[in-house]
């Protein structure tokens, strides 16, 4: 049932401004909630990516470490590496976690108001290559590629409060670009192959690219989530209020607020079965609705 729901939501429900992701993330896959020791496969149909996460820990370990790989599909498939080089749009990250920051280690005694909490530091390496078009350049240089291999650092703190609130705050810093904001175009090239009498034979090729001024800049992101799981709904429904803040010297500062409603696993409310998020993006002036499906192994 869970597998069917996962496949259905991630591969078929694409509509205008409706995107799917398989974590607690919003439509842009942003979240401040990184669950402790959860191995998972997640995907996001907005950017056609799939992410594998592995974390290693033992019950009495204060520390956890892991590896996450994210690849974006190109022409229906996604390669993470080609030889020793990361393929474009591959993200490799190494999360390192510390448990029981303000909560009590269950070995020591009863928890206080904070039932459980943990901190994650994550170092990411993101490989990117973007196809651009500039009609002001010489004809054979109008189509060109820009590479951006960026290093991103993030720190997140999550806490379970009184058994009913799952909260998180995360801070991220790294190099970004404005590729997603540029105009999408399809560049068609027609080539004459030959002619005989009145017949002319041509071939046509097409390349998707973006047009406009390409800029790279450093960006700060702050994500905050506050999810309430009421006991009166048998701990099966979670209500998430969230805030997403970005700031950079190029784009300025932007804060958006949203709400999410999640259906939670009957065996544990930290596992998401399905959900929907709503956020108004002030910068783009659009309403974003995200569909969420969970799949853990």
């Amino acid at each position: 049932m869970k597998t069917a729901l996962f496949i259905f939501l991630t591969y078929t429900l694409i509509q205008n401004n409706v995107y799917g992701s398989t974590t607690l993330g919003d439509s842009n896959d942003n979240t401040s909630i990184y669950l402790w020791g959860t191995n998972s496969v997640s995907s996001n149909i907005k950017d056609k990516s799939i992410k594998l996460t592995y974390l290693n820990s033992e019950s009495d370990d204060k520390y956890s470490w892991g590896l996450a790989l994210k690849g974006k599909a190109a022409d229906g498939s996604s390669l993470l590496f080609e030889g020793s080089e990361a393929t474009p749009e591959t993200t490799v990250s190494i999360p390192i976690g510390k448990h029981w920051i303000f909560s009590t280690n269950p070995k020591v005694g009863e928890p206080g108001i904070i039932s459980d909490d943990w901190l994650f530091f994550e170092a990411k390496y993101k490989s990117g290559e973007h196809q651009l078009f500039d009609k002001t350049l010489a004809f054979d240089k109008q189509l060109y590629k820009e590479k951006l291999n960026s290093k991103i650092l993030s720190l997140s703190y999550n806490a379970i409060i009184d058994g009913v609130f799952l909260t998180g705050v995360s801070i991220e810093y790294g190099k970004e670009n404005n590729y997603e904001d540029l105009s999408k175009i399809s560049v068609k090239t027609t080539t004459t192959i030959g002619s005989e009498g009145n017949d002319i034979r041509i071939s046509e090729s097409s390349i998707d690219a973006r047009e406009g001024k390409y800029v790279e800049f450093n960006q700060r992101k702050i994500n905050m989530d506050f999810m309430y799981v009421p006991g009166m709904l048998r701990n099966r429904i979670g209500f998430d209020l969230f805030a997403r803040h970005t700031s950079s010297s190029f784009k300025g500062s932007n804060t958006n607020y949203g709400i999410g409603i999640f259906v939670l696993d009957e065996k544990g409310p930290t596992r998401i079965l399905a959900g929907v998020t709503y956020m108004h993006d002030d910068e783009e002036n659009e309403n974003l609705i995200g569909l969420v499906a969970g799949y853990n192994f």
Partner: protein
């Protein structure tokens, strides 16, 4: 007498503690819901002291299964089973004595 105890705790909690006969048990975690350990423990009075604490979200299920065998007697086998859920304040404590035959 020395017993072999194979413990399996199943829960979506990330914060668990198990002590058997007062000994801290280090459980390996599969990153999903299974915590496991295999230990040799000296149980003097034929009663196994089990102490379990599980912290997390209310509504989180937990279950523990301990298979008890004797290295000196291949025919001996007992099972200790218990399950429940975190009902309030994000924690449960189980403290019991399990009589061995």
């Amino acid at each position: 007498m020395i017993y072999k105890l194979e413990s399996t705790l199943t829960s979506y909690s990330y914060s668990v503690y198990l002590a058997l006969e007062g000994n801290d048990i280090s459980l390996s975690y599969d990153g999903n819901e299974k915590y496991k350990s295999s230990d040799l423990v000296d149980i003097g009075d034929s009663e196994l002291d089990v102490f379990l604490r599980v912290n997390g979200m209310n509504g989180t299920d937990w279950s523990i299964l301990i298979l008890v065998t004797k290295p000196s007697d291949s025919t001996y086998k007992e099972e200790y089973k218990k399950s429940g859920e975190i009902e309030s304040r994000g924690t449960i404590v189980l403290s019991e004595k399990f009589k061995l035959t």
